[in-house]
Subunit: 147 residues, 2 copies
Amino acid sequence: MQHLSSYDPIIENLRKRGHRITAQRETILQIFKEEPHGNHLSVEELHSKLLEKGYRVSLATTYRTLKLLSVLGLLRELDFAEGHKHYELKQDTLPHQHIICTSCNMTLEFEDHFLETIGQEIASKHHFQVIDAQFKIFALCPRCKDK
Amino acid sequence: MQHLSSYDPIIENLRKRGHRITAQRETILQIFKEEPHGNHLSVEELHSKLLEKGYRVSLATTYRTLKLLSVLGLLRELDFAEGHKHYELKQDTLPHQHIICTSCNMTLEFEDHFLETIGQEIASKHHFQVIDAQFKIFALCPRCKDK
DNA sequence: TTTCGTGCAAACCATTTGCAGCAGC
DNA sequence: GCTGCTGCAAATGGTTTGCACGAAA
């Protein structure tokens, strides 16, 4: 595939670490960039969007790409305990965390001005190097709690 | 099975909500109570301990019991993103959270004096009813980060 | 006696993997 | 041209489920 020279920090990151820039990887990144800010996608959702748009990327490659980008710290891997994982771009997103309804699986993002910092402090106290700090509130949403 | 009249809040909770008190459920709770404070067990670990001690509880029942106790809010369901869940007793444990090494899966607990409160505040602002607030720091442990 | 809970084995489903061919560099 | 990446299909592994039997209340 021919690459335009448009600079992209994630692509650069991949290149620097010796990973190849393939059409599949660029396409997957493209989908994430088109998502509303802070939105997260499950593997199936991402794969469906790829197919809808006419790109032919196998499920296996989708899994492999998401895993790679997560390990490299370019994606955030979210687990809402409903059987599959969700992913969101890490760059450009304001720090935010999630409330998950354990009944209907609805999720809600809320801004986070200081949890990030708290995570850093706690980690360095124990000599750990932070990759991602996640605060998850499992709860019943307004609709479900009234049942 | 004959029950001694020893009072146990979890057993009482089950009884009140119309669930039966079976030998399997009592045994599983017993294992958790014997664990060091704040310790968490995977389903397989729990099942192995059951068999080691001579109790015959099927894997299926182990899964069903853990699910039930979690939904009832008596166990805390923890997901460390390594393919399976962990569980810990919710009663009697001081609020604590986890740092997880994404390389070797080692986990470390740290006390938490205020994250619980923060979770409550955020949730009520959005009219959610908290079940469990989990703060997880994914990081590299001292040993793994030097590789 | 009436459910509910359990054990067993089969089913499920998200994710991973072996391998041959293709593409990035 | 070398090697990593991809697609495909099969394998894997944690978790769930249908069903008949046994136990709690």
